[in-house]
Symmetry: C2
Protein backbone atom coordinates (compact mmCIF):
# COMPACT_ATOMS: atom_id res chain seq x y z
CA UNK A 1 0.00 0.00 0.00
CA UNK A 2 1.30 3.40 -0.97
CA UNK A 3 1.23 5.44 2.19
CA UNK A 4 1.45 8.71 0.28
CA UNK A 5 -1.91 7.99 -1.37
CA UNK A 6 -4.66 10.34 -0.28
CA UNK A 7 -6.72 8.98 2.60
CA UNK A 8 -9.71 7.15 1.34
CA UNK A 9 -12.75 9.17 2.24
CA UNK A 10 -14.79 7.52 4.95
CA UNK A 11 -18.40 6.91 4.00
CA UNK A 12 -20.84 8.86 6.12
CA UNK A 13 -21.71 6.69 9.12
CA UNK A 14 -25.05 4.99 8.69
CA UNK A 15 -27.44 6.97 10.90
CA UNK A 16 -28.71 4.64 13.63
CA UNK A 17 -32.45 4.70 14.04
CA UNK A 18 -33.29 6.75 17.09
CA UNK A 19 -34.36 4.63 20.03
CA UNK A 20 -35.85 5.27 23.46
CA UNK A 21 -33.95 4.10 26.52
CA UNK A 22 -34.94 4.06 30.19
CA UNK A 23 -32.07 4.04 32.68
CA UNK A 24 -32.96 3.16 36.26
CA UNK A 25 -30.21 3.93 38.75
CA UNK A 26 -30.04 3.12 42.45
CA UNK A 27 -27.35 4.59 44.66
CA UNK A 28 -27.74 7.13 47.51
CA UNK A 29 -24.66 9.15 46.50
CA UNK A 30 -25.13 11.33 43.37
CA UNK A 31 -21.36 11.16 42.74
CA UNK A 32 -21.06 7.40 43.26
CA UNK A 33 -19.63 5.11 40.61
CA UNK A 34 -23.18 3.88 39.97
CA UNK A 35 -24.56 7.33 39.27
CA UNK A 36 -21.44 8.33 37.33
CA UNK A 37 -21.95 5.34 35.04
CA UNK A 38 -25.64 6.20 34.68
CA UNK A 39 -24.69 9.77 33.72
CA UNK A 40 -22.10 8.49 31.28
CA UNK A 41 -24.63 6.15 29.65
CA UNK A 42 -27.17 8.96 29.39
CA UNK A 43 -24.70 11.26 27.64
CA UNK A 44 -23.31 8.55 25.40
CA UNK A 45 -26.73 7.42 24.23
CA UNK A 46 -27.99 10.98 23.69
CA UNK A 47 -24.85 11.82 21.72
CA UNK A 48 -25.74 8.91 19.44
CA UNK A 49 -29.14 10.49 18.83
CA UNK A 50 -31.25 8.38 21.17
CA UNK A 51 -33.86 9.60 23.64
CA UNK A 52 -33.11 8.78 27.26
CA UNK A 53 -35.22 8.96 30.41
CA UNK A 54 -33.60 8.39 33.80
CA UNK A 55 -35.30 7.14 36.94
CA UNK A 56 -32.86 8.03 39.70
CA UNK A 57 -34.63 6.16 42.49
CA UNK A 58 -32.84 7.80 45.42
CA UNK A 59 -33.32 11.29 43.95
CA UNK A 60 -37.01 10.46 43.41
CA UNK A 61 -37.28 9.17 47.00
CA UNK A 62 -38.84 6.07 45.49
CA UNK A 63 -41.07 4.15 47.93
CA UNK A 64 -39.57 0.67 48.06
CA UNK A 65 -42.29 -1.23 49.84
CA UNK A 66 -45.42 -2.75 48.31
CA UNK A 67 -48.35 -2.02 50.60
CA UNK A 68 -52.05 -1.16 50.53
CA UNK A 69 -51.31 2.47 49.53
CA UNK A 70 -50.35 1.17 46.07
CA UNK A 71 -53.96 0.09 45.51
CA UNK A 72 -56.28 2.93 46.48
CA UNK A 73 -59.43 0.96 45.58
CA UNK A 74 -58.74 -1.89 48.00
CA UNK A 75 -61.00 -1.95 51.06
CA UNK A 76 -58.26 -0.89 53.51
CA UNK A 77 -59.25 -3.47 56.10
CA UNK A 78 -55.67 -4.70 56.45
CA UNK A 79 -56.21 -7.63 54.06
CA UNK A 80 -54.10 -7.55 50.94
CA UNK A 81 -53.75 -10.34 48.41
CA UNK A 82 -50.98 -8.64 46.52
CA UNK A 83 -51.30 -10.34 43.15
CA UNK A 84 -55.07 -9.97 42.92
CA UNK A 85 -55.04 -6.38 44.17
CA UNK A 86 -52.23 -5.55 41.79
CA UNK A 87 -54.07 -7.00 38.82
CA UNK A 88 -57.37 -5.32 39.67
CA UNK A 89 -55.69 -1.94 40.09
CA UNK A 90 -53.67 -2.34 36.89
CA UNK A 91 -56.63 -3.31 34.73
CA UNK A 92 -58.79 -0.55 36.23
CA UNK A 93 -56.04 2.07 35.72
CA UNK A 94 -56.12 2.72 39.46
CA UNK A 95 -52.52 2.24 40.51
CA UNK A 96 -50.80 4.90 42.59
CA UNK A 97 -49.39 7.71 40.44
CA UNK A 98 -45.73 6.93 41.03
CA UNK A 99 -46.17 3.35 39.85
CA UNK A 100 -48.26 4.37 36.83
CA UNK A 101 -45.58 6.87 35.79
CA UNK A 102 -42.84 4.23 35.87
CA UNK A 103 -44.99 1.79 33.90
CA UNK A 104 -45.43 4.50 31.29
CA UNK A 105 -41.65 4.87 31.02
CA UNK A 106 -41.17 1.11 30.59
CA UNK A 107 -43.88 1.01 27.90
CA UNK A 108 -42.23 3.98 26.17
CA UNK A 109 -38.77 2.39 26.17
CA UNK A 110 -37.15 0.26 23.49
CA UNK A 111 -34.52 -0.74 26.06
CA UNK A 112 -34.27 -0.73 29.84
CA UNK A 113 -30.93 -0.44 31.66
CA UNK A 114 -30.73 -1.20 35.37
CA UNK A 115 -27.66 0.44 36.90
CA UNK A 116 -26.89 -0.66 40.44
CA UNK A 117 -24.26 -1.80 42.92
CA UNK A 118 -24.41 -5.49 43.77
CA UNK A 119 -25.50 -5.51 47.42
CA UNK A 120 -25.74 -8.94 48.96
CA UNK A 121 -25.53 -10.52 45.53
CA UNK A 122 -28.64 -8.76 44.20
CA UNK A 123 -30.26 -5.36 43.76
CA UNK A 124 -30.38 -2.70 46.47
CA UNK A 125 -33.77 -2.77 48.19
CA UNK A 126 -34.89 0.50 46.57
CA UNK A 127 -34.47 -1.06 43.11
CA UNK A 128 -36.07 -4.33 44.18
CA UNK A 129 -38.97 -2.16 45.31
CA UNK A 130 -39.12 -0.57 41.86
CA UNK A 131 -39.41 -4.06 40.38
CA UNK A 132 -41.91 -5.26 42.98
CA UNK A 133 -44.17 -2.23 42.56
CA UNK A 134 -43.90 -1.47 38.83
CA UNK A 135 -44.16 -4.96 37.30
CA UNK A 136 -47.70 -5.55 38.48
CA UNK A 137 -49.89 -8.45 37.47
CA UNK A 138 -51.59 -7.30 34.30
CA UNK A 139 -48.59 -5.19 33.30
CA UNK A 140 -45.57 -7.49 33.22
CA UNK A 141 -47.37 -10.81 33.53
CA UNK A 142 -50.60 -12.36 34.55
CA UNK A 143 -53.79 -13.98 33.37
CA UNK A 144 -54.96 -10.84 31.59
CA UNK A 145 -52.00 -11.06 29.25
CA UNK A 146 -51.79 -13.53 26.42
CA UNK A 147 -49.53 -16.44 27.27
CA UNK A 148 -46.73 -17.26 27.03
CA UNK A 149 -45.07 -14.76 29.29
CA UNK A 150 -42.10 -14.56 26.96
CA UNK A 151 -44.19 -12.82 24.32
CA UNK A 152 -46.01 -10.67 26.82
CA UNK A 153 -46.78 -6.97 26.90
CA UNK A 154 -43.11 -6.07 27.31
CA UNK A 155 -41.83 -8.09 24.37
CA UNK A 156 -39.49 -6.37 21.93
CA UNK A 157 -37.62 -4.44 24.63
CA UNK A 158 -33.94 -5.05 25.22
CA UNK A 159 -32.74 -5.21 28.80
CA UNK A 160 -29.30 -4.68 30.28
CA UNK A 161 -28.01 -5.02 33.81
CA UNK A 162 -25.07 -2.69 34.41
CA UNK A 163 -23.66 -3.59 37.78
CA UNK A 164 -20.73 -2.64 39.99
CA UNK A 165 -19.27 -5.24 42.34
CA UNK A 166 -16.76 -4.86 45.13
CA UNK A 167 -15.36 -8.33 44.57
CA UNK A 168 -12.66 -9.26 42.09
CA UNK A 169 -13.63 -10.71 38.73
CA UNK A 170 -12.13 -14.16 39.39
CA UNK A 171 -14.49 -14.69 42.34
CA UNK A 172 -17.42 -14.44 39.88
CA UNK A 173 -15.74 -16.49 37.12
CA UNK A 174 -16.81 -19.96 36.04
CA UNK A 175 -15.05 -21.57 39.04
CA UNK A 176 -15.27 -18.49 41.25
CA UNK A 177 -16.44 -18.90 44.84
CA UNK A 178 -19.54 -16.71 44.40
CA UNK A 179 -20.70 -18.50 41.25
CA UNK A 180 -20.82 -17.06 37.76
CA UNK A 181 -22.20 -13.53 37.83
CA UNK A 182 -24.82 -14.35 35.20
CA UNK A 183 -26.10 -17.15 37.46
CA UNK A 184 -26.16 -14.91 40.52
CA UNK A 185 -28.20 -12.44 38.44
CA UNK A 186 -30.54 -15.14 37.10
CA UNK A 187 -33.48 -13.77 39.14
CA UNK A 188 -33.11 -10.56 37.11
CA UNK A 189 -31.98 -11.93 33.75
CA UNK A 190 -34.51 -14.76 33.49
CA UNK A 191 -36.80 -14.07 36.44
CA UNK A 192 -37.61 -10.46 35.54
CA UNK A 193 -36.46 -9.74 31.99
CA UNK A 194 -37.23 -13.04 30.27
CA UNK A 195 -40.41 -13.62 32.29
CA UNK A 196 -41.88 -10.30 31.22
CA UNK A 197 -40.92 -10.84 27.59
CA UNK A 198 -37.89 -8.56 27.48
CA UNK A 199 -34.68 -9.58 25.72
CA UNK A 200 -31.75 -9.72 28.16
CA UNK A 201 -28.18 -9.01 27.11
CA UNK A 202 -25.16 -10.31 28.99
CA UNK A 203 -24.65 -8.13 32.09
CA UNK A 204 -22.04 -5.38 32.00
CA UNK A 205 -19.92 -5.45 35.14
CA UNK A 206 -17.31 -3.27 36.81
CA UNK A 207 -15.39 -5.28 39.41
CA UNK A 208 -13.21 -4.01 42.30
CA UNK A 209 -15.70 -1.19 42.51
CA UNK A 210 -15.21 -0.19 46.13
CA UNK A 211 -11.96 1.56 45.40
CA UNK A 212 -11.72 1.98 41.65
CA UNK A 213 -8.76 4.13 40.57
CA UNK A 214 -9.27 6.90 38.00
CA UNK A 215 -7.81 4.82 35.16
CA UNK A 216 -10.15 1.98 36.12
CA UNK A 217 -13.08 4.35 35.67
CA UNK A 218 -11.76 5.41 32.24
CA UNK A 219 -11.45 1.74 31.22
CA UNK A 220 -14.93 1.03 32.55
CA UNK A 221 -16.39 3.90 30.49
CA UNK A 222 -14.69 2.66 27.31
CA UNK A 223 -16.04 -0.85 27.85
CA UNK A 224 -19.48 0.45 28.77
CA UNK A 225 -19.50 2.61 25.62
CA UNK A 226 -19.02 -0.51 23.49
CA UNK A 227 -21.90 -2.23 25.26
CA UNK A 228 -24.15 0.80 24.84
CA UNK A 229 -23.30 0.94 21.13
CA UNK A 230 -24.34 -2.71 20.87
CA UNK A 231 -27.52 -2.30 22.90
CA UNK A 232 -29.75 -3.00 19.90
CA UNK A 233 -27.37 -5.17 17.87
CA UNK A 234 -25.43 -7.42 20.29
CA UNK A 235 -26.59 -11.02 20.44
CA UNK A 236 -28.86 -11.42 23.46
CA UNK A 237 -28.78 -14.32 25.93
CA UNK A 238 -30.55 -17.06 23.95
CA UNK A 239 -32.96 -18.25 26.63
CA UNK A 240 -35.32 -20.95 25.42
CA UNK A 241 -38.93 -19.90 24.90
CA UNK A 242 -42.11 -21.49 26.17
CA UNK A 243 -43.40 -21.63 22.60
CA UNK A 244 -40.22 -23.21 21.27
CA UNK A 245 -41.38 -26.72 22.04
CA UNK A 246 -38.65 -27.40 24.61
CA UNK A 247 -40.88 -27.65 27.71
CA UNK A 248 -43.61 -30.05 28.80
CA UNK A 249 -46.95 -29.01 30.29
CA UNK A 250 -45.43 -28.99 33.77
CA UNK A 251 -42.89 -26.37 32.59
CA UNK A 252 -40.04 -28.85 32.72
CA UNK A 253 -37.43 -29.09 30.01
CA UNK A 254 -38.10 -32.10 27.80
CA UNK A 255 -35.59 -34.95 28.00
CA UNK A 256 -32.48 -34.83 25.83
CA UNK A 257 -32.98 -31.40 24.24
CA UNK A 258 -29.78 -30.14 25.86
CA UNK A 259 -26.20 -30.92 25.02
CA UNK A 260 -24.92 -33.85 27.13
CA UNK A 261 -23.57 -32.74 30.50
CA UNK A 262 -25.53 -29.47 30.64
CA UNK A 263 -26.99 -28.78 34.09
CA UNK A 264 -28.38 -25.95 36.20
CA UNK A 265 -29.44 -22.66 34.65
CA UNK A 266 -27.57 -23.52 31.43
CA UNK A 267 -30.38 -25.95 30.64
CA UNK A 268 -32.56 -22.98 29.79
CA UNK A 269 -30.20 -21.43 27.26
CA UNK A 270 -30.38 -22.70 23.69
CA UNK A 271 -27.20 -24.62 22.89
CA UNK A 272 -24.89 -23.41 20.16
CA UNK A 273 -25.38 -25.19 16.89
CA UNK B 1 -43.28 -61.22 67.70
CA UNK B 2 -46.09 -61.84 70.15
CA UNK B 3 -48.66 -59.16 69.46
CA UNK B 4 -50.37 -59.75 72.81
CA UNK B 5 -47.22 -58.67 74.64
CA UNK B 6 -47.65 -55.43 76.56
CA UNK B 7 -46.55 -52.35 74.64
CA UNK B 8 -42.98 -51.52 75.38
CA UNK B 9 -42.92 -48.34 77.40
CA UNK B 10 -41.60 -45.38 75.43
CA UNK B 11 -38.61 -43.69 77.03
CA UNK B 12 -39.23 -40.11 78.02
CA UNK B 13 -38.33 -37.93 75.07
CA UNK B 14 -34.87 -36.42 75.46
CA UNK B 15 -35.45 -32.76 76.42
CA UNK B 16 -34.06 -30.60 73.63
CA UNK B 17 -31.73 -27.87 74.82
CA UNK B 18 -33.53 -24.56 74.68
CA UNK B 19 -32.46 -22.44 71.73
CA UNK B 20 -33.04 -18.86 70.60
CA UNK B 21 -34.65 -18.27 67.21
CA UNK B 22 -35.22 -15.07 65.27
CA UNK B 23 -38.05 -15.16 62.71
CA UNK B 24 -38.12 -12.33 60.17
CA UNK B 25 -41.36 -12.11 58.23
CA UNK B 26 -42.24 -9.85 55.31
CA UNK B 27 -45.81 -9.58 54.03
CA UNK B 28 -48.15 -6.57 54.19
CA UNK B 29 -51.22 -8.63 55.16
CA UNK B 30 -51.21 -9.88 58.79
CA UNK B 31 -53.46 -12.79 57.76
CA UNK B 32 -51.42 -13.76 54.68
CA UNK B 33 -49.99 -17.24 54.23
CA UNK B 34 -46.55 -15.78 54.98
CA UNK B 35 -47.57 -14.34 58.33
CA UNK B 36 -49.68 -17.41 59.15
CA UNK B 37 -46.63 -19.60 58.64
CA UNK B 38 -44.53 -17.22 60.75
CA UNK B 39 -47.14 -17.43 63.54
CA UNK B 40 -47.24 -21.21 63.24
CA UNK B 41 -43.44 -21.43 63.49
CA UNK B 42 -43.42 -19.13 66.51
CA UNK B 43 -45.98 -21.26 68.35
CA UNK B 44 -44.41 -24.55 67.34
CA UNK B 45 -40.92 -23.52 68.46
CA UNK B 46 -42.16 -22.02 71.73
CA UNK B 47 -44.16 -25.18 72.46
CA UNK B 48 -40.87 -27.08 72.11
CA UNK B 49 -39.35 -24.86 74.80
CA UNK B 50 -37.40 -22.48 72.60
CA UNK B 51 -37.26 -18.71 72.83
CA UNK B 52 -38.50 -16.87 69.75
CA UNK B 53 -38.28 -13.25 68.68
CA UNK B 54 -40.20 -12.08 65.61
CA UNK B 55 -39.31 -9.15 63.37
CA UNK B 56 -42.52 -8.49 61.44
CA UNK B 57 -41.09 -5.96 59.01
CA UNK B 58 -44.38 -4.55 57.74
CA UNK B 59 -45.78 -4.22 61.27
CA UNK B 60 -42.53 -2.49 62.30
CA UNK B 61 -42.77 -0.18 59.26
CA UNK B 62 -39.18 -1.17 58.55
CA UNK B 63 -37.30 1.40 56.46
CA UNK B 64 -36.11 -0.52 53.42
CA UNK B 65 -33.64 1.90 51.92
CA UNK B 66 -30.00 2.38 52.88
CA UNK B 67 -29.27 6.11 53.01
CA UNK B 68 -27.29 8.70 54.93
CA UNK B 69 -29.77 8.61 57.84
CA UNK B 70 -28.39 5.17 58.74
CA UNK B 71 -25.04 6.75 59.58
CA UNK B 72 -25.62 9.80 61.79
CA UNK B 73 -21.89 10.60 62.07
CA UNK B 74 -21.36 10.99 58.30
CA UNK B 75 -20.85 14.58 57.15
CA UNK B 76 -24.26 14.87 55.45
CA UNK B 77 -22.83 16.56 52.36
CA UNK B 78 -24.59 14.15 50.03
CA UNK B 79 -21.51 11.93 49.63
CA UNK B 80 -21.92 8.37 50.88
CA UNK B 81 -19.48 5.53 50.37
CA UNK B 82 -21.81 2.93 51.79
CA UNK B 83 -19.32 0.24 52.79
CA UNK B 84 -16.90 2.63 54.50
CA UNK B 85 -19.67 4.56 56.25
CA UNK B 86 -21.30 1.33 57.33
CA UNK B 87 -18.08 -0.02 58.79
CA UNK B 88 -17.19 3.21 60.58
CA UNK B 89 -20.66 3.45 62.13
CA UNK B 90 -20.67 -0.22 63.12
CA UNK B 91 -17.27 -0.14 64.81
CA UNK B 92 -18.10 3.13 66.57
CA UNK B 93 -21.47 1.81 67.78
CA UNK B 94 -23.14 4.70 65.94
CA UNK B 95 -25.67 2.96 63.70
CA UNK B 96 -29.27 4.12 63.68
CA UNK B 97 -31.27 2.56 66.52
CA UNK B 98 -33.49 0.36 64.33
CA UNK B 99 -30.46 -1.26 62.68
CA UNK B 100 -28.65 -1.73 66.00
CA UNK B 101 -31.72 -3.43 67.48
CA UNK B 102 -31.92 -5.93 64.61
CA UNK B 103 -28.20 -6.67 64.85
CA UNK B 104 -28.73 -7.42 68.54
CA UNK B 105 -31.46 -9.93 67.64
CA UNK B 106 -29.22 -11.67 65.10
CA UNK B 107 -26.37 -11.84 67.64
CA UNK B 108 -28.79 -13.24 70.23
CA UNK B 109 -30.15 -15.94 67.90
CA UNK B 110 -28.95 -19.52 67.49
CA UNK B 111 -30.99 -19.70 64.30
CA UNK B 112 -32.49 -17.18 61.87
CA UNK B 113 -35.59 -17.96 59.79
CA UNK B 114 -36.53 -15.70 56.87
CA UNK B 115 -40.22 -16.09 56.02
CA UNK B 116 -41.27 -14.43 52.79
CA UNK B 117 -43.20 -14.71 49.54
CA UNK B 118 -41.01 -15.15 46.47
CA UNK B 119 -41.53 -11.87 44.57
CA UNK B 120 -39.68 -11.68 41.29
CA UNK B 121 -37.63 -14.71 42.22
CA UNK B 122 -36.18 -13.11 45.36
CA UNK B 123 -37.10 -11.36 48.59
CA UNK B 124 -39.66 -8.56 48.84
CA UNK B 125 -37.90 -5.20 48.90
CA UNK B 126 -38.68 -4.63 52.59
CA UNK B 127 -36.77 -7.80 53.49
CA UNK B 128 -33.94 -7.02 51.08
CA UNK B 129 -33.76 -3.71 52.92
CA UNK B 130 -33.47 -5.55 56.23
CA UNK B 131 -30.52 -7.47 54.79
CA UNK B 132 -28.94 -4.38 53.19
CA UNK B 133 -29.20 -2.31 56.38
CA UNK B 134 -28.57 -4.89 59.14
CA UNK B 135 -25.63 -6.85 57.72
CA UNK B 136 -23.23 -3.91 57.79
CA UNK B 137 -19.52 -4.09 57.16
CA UNK B 138 -18.01 -4.88 60.52
CA UNK B 139 -21.06 -6.88 61.58
CA UNK B 140 -21.59 -9.58 58.95
CA UNK B 141 -18.35 -9.20 57.05
CA UNK B 142 -15.50 -6.86 56.45
CA UNK B 143 -11.88 -6.14 57.18
CA UNK B 144 -12.49 -5.69 60.89
CA UNK B 145 -13.59 -9.31 61.15
CA UNK B 146 -11.15 -12.17 61.08
CA UNK B 147 -11.11 -13.93 57.72
CA UNK B 148 -12.40 -16.15 56.31
CA UNK B 149 -15.94 -14.88 56.10
CA UNK B 150 -17.29 -18.37 56.64
CA UNK B 151 -16.01 -18.35 60.22
CA UNK B 152 -17.05 -14.77 60.79
CA UNK B 153 -18.91 -13.10 63.62
CA UNK B 154 -22.15 -14.90 62.74
CA UNK B 155 -20.67 -18.40 62.71
CA UNK B 156 -22.55 -21.10 64.62
CA UNK B 157 -25.99 -19.82 63.64
CA UNK B 158 -28.32 -21.95 61.57
CA UNK B 159 -30.31 -20.25 58.82
CA UNK B 160 -33.51 -21.27 57.09
CA UNK B 161 -35.38 -19.70 54.20
CA UNK B 162 -39.11 -20.46 54.46
CA UNK B 163 -40.67 -19.28 51.25
CA UNK B 164 -44.04 -19.31 49.53
CA UNK B 165 -44.18 -19.37 45.74
CA UNK B 166 -47.12 -18.90 43.41
CA UNK B 167 -45.64 -21.27 40.83
CA UNK B 168 -46.03 -25.01 40.74
CA UNK B 169 -43.27 -27.21 42.16
CA UNK B 170 -42.30 -28.73 38.80
CA UNK B 171 -41.38 -25.31 37.43
CA UNK B 172 -38.68 -25.07 40.13
CA UNK B 173 -37.56 -28.71 39.81
CA UNK B 174 -34.21 -29.84 38.40
CA UNK B 175 -35.43 -29.34 34.82
CA UNK B 176 -38.03 -26.70 35.69
CA UNK B 177 -38.20 -23.56 33.59
CA UNK B 178 -37.36 -21.21 36.47
CA UNK B 179 -34.32 -23.23 37.57
CA UNK B 180 -33.94 -25.17 40.80
CA UNK B 181 -35.30 -23.17 43.71
CA UNK B 182 -32.06 -23.59 45.67
CA UNK B 183 -30.18 -22.03 42.75
CA UNK B 184 -32.64 -19.15 42.46
CA UNK B 185 -32.12 -18.56 46.19
CA UNK B 186 -28.32 -18.81 45.92
CA UNK B 187 -27.88 -15.07 46.65
CA UNK B 188 -29.51 -15.78 50.04
CA UNK B 189 -28.21 -19.27 50.76
CA UNK B 190 -24.59 -18.71 49.80
CA UNK B 191 -24.50 -14.95 49.26
CA UNK B 192 -25.95 -13.96 52.64
CA UNK B 193 -25.96 -16.99 54.96
CA UNK B 194 -22.73 -18.69 53.96
CA UNK B 195 -20.88 -15.40 53.42
CA UNK B 196 -21.62 -14.21 56.94
CA UNK B 197 -20.67 -17.55 58.45
CA UNK B 198 -24.17 -18.89 59.07
CA UNK B 199 -25.09 -22.51 58.32
CA UNK B 200 -27.86 -22.71 55.70
CA UNK B 201 -30.39 -25.53 55.61
CA UNK B 202 -32.26 -26.54 52.47
CA UNK B 203 -35.09 -24.02 51.91
CA UNK B 204 -38.62 -24.92 53.00
CA UNK B 205 -41.10 -24.08 50.26
CA UNK B 206 -44.88 -23.94 49.87
CA UNK B 207 -45.79 -23.95 46.18
CA UNK B 208 -49.10 -22.93 44.53
CA UNK B 209 -49.29 -20.33 47.25
CA UNK B 210 -51.53 -17.79 45.52
CA UNK B 211 -54.61 -19.87 46.07
CA UNK B 212 -53.74 -22.53 48.63
CA UNK B 213 -56.78 -24.54 49.77
CA UNK B 214 -57.31 -25.20 53.49
CA UNK B 215 -56.00 -28.74 53.27
CA UNK B 216 -52.91 -27.44 51.50
CA UNK B 217 -52.26 -25.16 54.46
CA UNK B 218 -52.64 -28.09 56.86
CA UNK B 219 -50.15 -30.12 54.82
CA UNK B 220 -47.78 -27.16 54.71
CA UNK B 221 -47.91 -26.81 58.50
CA UNK B 222 -47.17 -30.51 59.02
CA UNK B 223 -44.19 -30.33 56.68
CA UNK B 224 -42.98 -27.09 58.22
CA UNK B 225 -43.25 -28.63 61.71
CA UNK B 226 -40.84 -31.38 60.65
CA UNK B 227 -38.38 -28.81 59.34
CA UNK B 228 -38.64 -26.74 62.53
CA UNK B 229 -38.03 -29.86 64.62
CA UNK B 230 -34.89 -30.48 62.58
CA UNK B 231 -33.68 -26.87 62.72
CA UNK B 232 -30.66 -27.78 64.85
CA UNK B 233 -30.19 -31.39 63.76
CA UNK B 234 -30.91 -31.61 60.00
CA UNK B 235 -27.86 -31.85 57.77
CA UNK B 236 -27.11 -28.38 56.40
CA UNK B 237 -26.15 -27.56 52.81
CA UNK B 238 -22.50 -28.65 52.73
CA UNK B 239 -21.02 -25.58 51.06
CA UNK B 240 -17.26 -25.73 50.73
CA UNK B 241 -15.28 -23.45 53.05
CA UNK B 242 -12.56 -20.99 52.25
CA UNK B 243 -10.32 -22.72 54.81
CA UNK B 244 -11.01 -26.18 53.41
CA UNK B 245 -8.22 -25.95 50.86
CA UNK B 246 -10.56 -26.11 47.84
CA UNK B 247 -9.94 -22.56 46.52
CA UNK B 248 -6.92 -20.78 45.11
CA UNK B 249 -5.83 -17.27 46.07
CA UNK B 250 -8.09 -15.79 43.40
CA UNK B 251 -11.09 -17.45 45.11
CA UNK B 252 -11.49 -19.95 42.28
CA UNK B 253 -12.17 -23.61 42.90
CA UNK B 254 -9.01 -25.64 42.38
CA UNK B 255 -8.98 -27.98 39.37
CA UNK B 256 -10.43 -31.46 39.71
CA UNK B 257 -11.73 -31.22 43.28
CA UNK B 258 -15.29 -31.76 42.07
CA UNK B 259 -16.93 -34.89 40.77
CA UNK B 260 -16.67 -35.09 36.96
CA UNK B 261 -19.48 -33.25 35.21
CA UNK B 262 -20.29 -30.92 38.09
CA UNK B 263 -20.93 -27.33 36.96
CA UNK B 264 -22.54 -24.10 38.13
CA UNK B 265 -23.39 -23.52 41.78
CA UNK B 266 -22.99 -27.24 42.51
CA UNK B 267 -19.23 -26.75 42.25
CA UNK B 268 -19.34 -25.04 45.63
CA UNK B 269 -21.08 -27.86 47.48
CA UNK B 270 -18.90 -30.66 48.84
CA UNK B 271 -19.56 -33.82 46.87
CA UNK B 272 -21.00 -36.89 48.58
CA UNK B 273 -18.35 -39.41 49.54
Amino acid sequence: MNDTAPQQQQPHPQPQPQKKILIVTAHPDPRSLTNSLAAFATEHLRAAGHEVQVSDLYAMKWKATVDADDFPDEPGDGRLHVMSASERATLAGRLSADVAAEQEKVRWADAVILQFPLWWFSMPAILKGWVDRVFTAGFGYGPALPPPYSESALGGRRALVSVTAGARETSFSDRGIHGRLADVLHPVQHGLFWFTGMTPLEPFTVYNANDLPAEGFETAKREYARRLEGLFTDTPVPFRTLTGGDYDHDMRLLPSVENPGTTGFDLHVRPHD
